[in-house]
């Protein structure tokens, strides 16, 4: 078992390394930070441009592979380089922003997954009843909605609610916290600000997982082992909980690693549109600023998260399926 996990881990580490390298090389080949200096008036002296490009290791005169080598040396020492155009350390920026993103991601993922699994189970158990039909239509609608549109709709609804309540700050539409508040008011405001982004992120996941959970649950409901469980004297509820849901969760666990990339993308939109200063916003801003080092760092962060979710799903898989543990 441990051997299996270690092997998976090493495989993931190699993938993360190569994925980050590819992101760096793509960014370094397509971004041209030197263009930022071209249209300045008065023109920036050439020596200054050279110097600042060298500082961020983005001088187009230097061959791409040499720049990559330098960048790699820094990364292996735990240094992601300098931002552009503001010459600040990427590391400290990431330290600050990753916590913001992780909070949003963790909360949204946990709530969304749990809600989705519950919806799927109920839908399957009461197949073709009202709840099943309603959740199916709901999931179809959510899955057909681009993340951007969903966020804009959630914000429109939020603005409408505020209007009805009569307090424009009842459900804050943007921002993560209000630094003018203190004490309990600060924290309650912060909690209110979490609501809309978390709902947005959670809804997508709930829609995804409810569909798959319903499908696998329906397969399990017709299985022999469930009938056996009933035959040996378990109540319907006991049989469903102990043998049904657990078995139906197994395929979902592998699916989790697949969808995590989509969740991350959803988080990019959520952060940017709700004005959260997290990694997603950092990615969009870095690309707009033609900031190679920051973009590569966000790619690395993303790849590491996908790695973690992959490992987590491996562990959960082993925990749920005894056959994996036996081998």
């Amino acid at each position: 078992m441990l051997k299996f996990l270690i092997r998976r881990f090493l495989n993931y580490v190699v993938l993360v390394f190569i994925a980050t390298s590819i992101a760096y090389l793509l960014a370094a080949a397509t971004f041209h930070p030197e263009n930022n200096y071209l249209q300045r008036n008065p023109p920036v002296p050439k020596a200054v441009v050279e110097q600042s490009l060298n500082d961020i290791n983005a001088n187009p005169e230097t061959p791409l592979l040499v720049r990559y080598g330098r960048w790699l040396k820094g990364v292996l020492h735990g240094d992601f380089g300098t931002q552009f155009p503001r010459p600040e350390s990427v590391n400290s920026e990431i330290g600050r922003r990753s916590l913001v993103s992780l909070r949003l991601l963790l909360l949204g993922t946990i709530l969304g997954t749990v809600a989705g699994v519950l919806m799927g189970v109920f839908g399957a158990v009461r197949q073709r009843k009202f709840f099943d039909q309603a959740s199916t239509i709901w999931a179809y609608l959510i899955l057909a909605t681009p993340t951007v549109v969903l966020i804009l709709l959630v914000q429109t609804v939020g603005a409408y609610v505020n209007k009805q309540v009569g307090d424009p700050h009842f459900l804050p539409l943007t921002g993560e916290y209000d630094s003018t508040l203190h004490g309990a008011a600060f924290w309650s405001d912060r909690a209110m600000r979490l609501i809309l982004p978390t709902i947005t992120l959670g809804m997508f996941e709930a829609a995804f997982f409810s569909r798959y959970q319903r499908s696998t649950m329906l397969d399990v409901l017709g299985s022999d082992f469930l009938r056996t469980a009933r035959a040996k004297g378990l109540t319907r509820r006991q049989a469903l909980m102990k043998h049904g849901v657990r078995t139906a969760l197994i395929p979902l666990v592998t699916f989790f690693a697949f969808t995590f990339g989509l969740i991350l993308t959803g988080a990019i939109f959520t952060e940017k549109l709700f004005g959260w200063h997290g990694m997603g916003e950092f990615l969009i801003d870095s690309i707009n600023n033609r900031d190679i080092n920051s973009t590569a760092a966000v790619a690395c962060f993303t790849a590491v998260l996908v790695l973690c979710s992959g490992l987590l799903s491996d562990v959960l898989y082993a925990a749920l399926d005894p056959r994996v543990r036996a081998n």
Binding site: L15, L143, P146, T265, I284
Partner: protein
């Protein structure tokens, strides 16, 4: 967003049997061709009919609509800026530059539909070629392609496309279609590979190989036609995926570039007005939702019609 749906749907039993020509000789009932059979099953399902009706309406409106309006796409009506629906001859109102929202949305819808269709066709073609080569040739070809698939799944395609977006500046939307396809084929490729692995061991493939039929012919004549049903369903899934991806990228300025208009750029132009003037955005929002919804409905109904035994019928 619909692509991961096929992860679990490697169903090797979807061979296309030859048209059931009445084998028992004088069968009293008329033999039904496979295409007719699928069509009949498809139109018997409520979601299939609904999807076709919705998509048909959307396509017709997108093609005909712009001609019926007296406004053109870039025409500024400075007398009416951010006015609501129905004022000054603007059916759905105007945006912050005085442009007619209905006309812009319809032009955007056109572009989004074209991008979705083109990208889906190219994506499925790449997936079919890469997947069948990986499964058929095995060895290092297989290792290489599977490895590329794993790698591209570690980095979300949105991230790669966003990083590559500077390439797009000043270029036509055809480049976007190409990029969307290059980074969107992985999951389908996996499914095709899985099916090829099982088809490869069939007698008729062995027979073809022993007769000295070249590999290319085996793939195009014997392997891909047997996956046709999967590939057709996959095109519909990829249409919705491409439309969703395009709107997201364009929203941040990483997709369709200014002179061109897509639903994503219409959203982007009006996003600052979302809370104060929701009418500027809602048409594009609903156009996107209904387009993707109808394509998804068609895809699901098609899958059920082609393979009624697949578990997906309950999805």
């Amino acid at each position: 967003m619909g692509t991961p749906q096929n992860v679990f749907e490697v169903d090797p039993s979807t061979d296309t049997p030859a048209a059931p020509v009445s084998e028992l000789g004088a069968a009293p009932t008329k033999a039904v061709g496979r295409a007719r059979l699928i069509a009949r099953r498809f139109f018997r399902s409520r979601s299939g009919v609904l999807g076709v009706a919705m998509l048909g309406t959307i396509v017709i409106v997108a093609i005909v609509g712009p001609w019926l309006s007296k406004w053109t796409i870039d025409e500024n009506d400075f007398a009416h800026i951010l006015t609501g629906p129905g004022i000054g001859g603007h059916v759905l109102g105007t945006d912050s530059a005085g442009r007619d929202i209905l006309v812009r949305t319809l032009y955007g819808l056109r572009k989004s539909l074209i991008i979705g269709l083109c990208a889906a066709l190219i994506t499925t073609t790449i997936a079919a070629i890469a997947g069948s080569c990986a499964g058929f040739f095995g060895k290092w070809v297989d290792v290489g392609i599977v490895w590329v698939i794993d790698l591209l799944l570690v980095l979300p395609s949105f991230l790669i496309l966003a990083i590559l977006s500077p390439i797009l500046s000043g270029k036509t939307w055809l480049w976007l279609v190409l990029l969307l396809s290059i980074f969107g084929w992985m999951i389908t490729g996996r499914v095709v590979r899985g099916m090829t692995l099982s088809l490869r061991e069939r007698e008729y493939v062995h027979a073809a190989r022993f007769m000295g039929v070249p590999n290319r012919t085996i793939i195009t004549r014997h392997l891909l036609p047997n996956m046709a049903s999967l590939l057709i369903v996959d095109v519909t899934i990829n249409v919705s995926f491409a439309i969703l991806a395009e709107s997201g990228l364009s929203f941040f300025g990483f997709g369709v570039q200014p002179p061109d208009v897509s639903l994503g750029t219409v959203l982007q132009e009006n996003q600052t007005n979302v809370t104060a003037y929701p009418f500027t955005l809602l048409p594009a929002c609903f156009a996107l939702i209904f387009t993707v919804l109808s394509v998804n409905l068609i895809g699901d109904a098609l899958r059920d019609a082609i393979d009624p035994t697949s578990g997906a019928s309950r999805l």
